[in-house]
Symmetry: C2
């Protein structure tokens, strides 16, 4: 397999990204890495590494999509950016997978434009794994598709369930549909229709609606939401986690300065236990290839874990399983997708 890694993407690029690529060398076997970005910068990071040329090659690009760039404009104006070039490499099957901690919007837009969906998939969705207190919990879609139809949610349930099973080794993933009450009658039109579809799919272990407070209760392995709601939830959880730790630390320092100093290491340890870097990135499920979206502040561990994730997805034939599942009539779109 050939795996492209965006050397220019993320808050700690290129240093942590190249470090992650080097850390992945031990995993590679017959696979190869392509570091996409500015050759000089990448080579400078590799200066102290011996033998990297056996497994790593560099694809030179001259532009960088910054974290603040508007995705659409960036893709229009920065055709030689690492993200645009990676998507092109994937579309022409010169690489099997792309990994980036760069501008998520640009990466997803580039992959959706350049990489075809798998047969039967109407719209790809981002499946983020949360390091919950009760174990991992997958939320899909986290922002690829902010204007969902019921079939999209049904397909996200199918794809995320296969992902949870094959990658996270959950035997029969318990699936919840994010809504605003547990009863059937609760929710909006989209959720009610999606619920009816998912309920009538006997292959899914569908457990009904899940409310915001129960996403991380440990009762669900997979939670399905439209991309708008999923993205709001993703960012809210990230923001709150940080805010909580910061403010508990600050309040402690005010109330009990001595204890706060002793506590610092312990709080850090608790925080690390739920660090997304340990989980790798989030796959854009449903594209004909593999696209892994890493958090902007990813360090080398996130890159290494994403390489491992790419390999696991391939070894377990997740894309093939998705295609087979969706070839069944009930989950296939009534009309051909036509990039809808």
């Amino acid at each position: 397999m050939r795996i492209a890694v965006d050397a220019m993407g993320g808050d700690h690029a290129p240093h942590q990204i190249v470090k992650g690529a080097v850390a992945s060398l031990e995993l590679l076997g017959d696979d190869e890495l392509l570091l996409v970005g500015d050759t000089n910068s990448i080579e400078a990071e590799l200066a102290e590494v011996s033998n990297w040329k056996d497994k790593i090659s560099i694809v030179h690009t001259t532009q960088v999509v910054s974290m603040g760039d508007s995705p659409v404009e960036a893709l229009r104006n920065k055709r030689d950016s690492s993200i645009a070039v990676m998507a092109k490499l994937a579309s022409s099957k010169q690489v099997d997978a792309v990994i980036s901690a760069g501008n998520t919007g640009a990466l997803v837009a580039a992959c959706q434009m350049k990489i075809k969906p798998l047969p039967g998939v109407v719209r790809p969705g981002i499946a983020v794994t949360f390091p919950g207190f009760h174990g991992p919990c997958i939320l899909c879609d986290c922002g690829a598709n902010p204007e969902c139809r019921p079939i999209n949610l049904h397909q996200y349930a199918v794809m995320s369930s296969l992902y949870a099973k094959e990658v996270w080794q959950v035997e029969t993933p318990r699936i919840g549909l994010l809504s605003i009450g547990e009863e059937d009658a609760k929710g909006n039109k989209l959720v009610k229709e999606a619920r009816a579809r998912m309920k009538s799919d006997p292959t899914l272990n569908f457990r009904g609606n899940v409310e915001g407070r129960d996403i991380f209760s440990g009762e669900f392995d997979v939670v399905i939401a439209d991309g708008f709601v999923g993205n709001v939830v993703l960012k809210l959880v990230e923001g709150l986690a940080e805010t909580f730790y910061q403010n508990i630390g600050r309040s402690l320092r005010e109330l009990e300065p001595e204890m706060a100093m002793q506590m610092e290491a312990t709080l850090g340890e608790i925080y690390t236990k739920h660090d997304y870097n340990e989980y790798g990135g989030a796959p854009l499920l449903g594209v004909d290839g593999v696209c892994i979206i890493c958090h902007g502040s990813s360090d080398y561990r996130s890159i290494k874990n994403s390489v491992k994730l790419v390999q696991t997805l391939a070894q377990h034939h997740v894309n093939q399983q998705i295609t087979e599942y969706l070839s069944e009539l009930s989950v296939a779109p009534a009309i051909p997708p036509k990039g809808s």
Copy 2:
């Protein structure tokens, strides 16, 4: 003013509710309280209180809507429940305000059915005040209207802004629209159209889109969302706050049992600082009357603070101000509401 309090609603009813009513006696002035519920239970709670009869009367009801009841069925089958009776009292103007910590869905449905909206208001919305680390932040709508149109969001911004100004004493409330990116082009159709409306309203201090991570950043006094998203956010925040405190406590006990014991009081103190009981309930903004929705696990402080909130809303003529604002063409519905 006559204020009806649901003596049967909430996890700690009737004890904490009646205790809250008694605690409110000192606030009442010329106002009166009506405790709605089972006379025997209420009188038992009042046994040790002297002179309550000056200011409190009891409206006897025989049924109770439980927290788990389906709202629609409960209202159909429990016509003599405290919630149903309170809504009827409000609709016939026998009381000026209702306060309940009971089944939120049933309360909101009852108020929407029985109490007319204010002139010009298309749909009422629930405005919850979060005890953020940077001060209060109001989120509207938190679940009254899960199927919003752009005009609803615009009107929620108008009503919440007046509420923040008059009740929370924020001089020019900074308003954000919950979306999935800061740029204009981000979001779904509803948000984009609402954004255009809010942007063109010169009276609002509209600051553009706000992402999930920035809701509690301190940059916004008011955040607007449709009722589906708002309710997901509300419940997620509640669930996460509890989970964080619980799990930090648990991890501490595992890692540093001795320190955990010392810490318990301090963590409790931090938690209390952000306790919603200190904030009273959430008004259903836009009804021709006052409806205050309290958290299910409210204690007496929440009831007392809700009584204070009812008085503040009245003293500051918030409903009148809403009506005046909405009589201006730009915020009024193009077609008459007809309960839409």
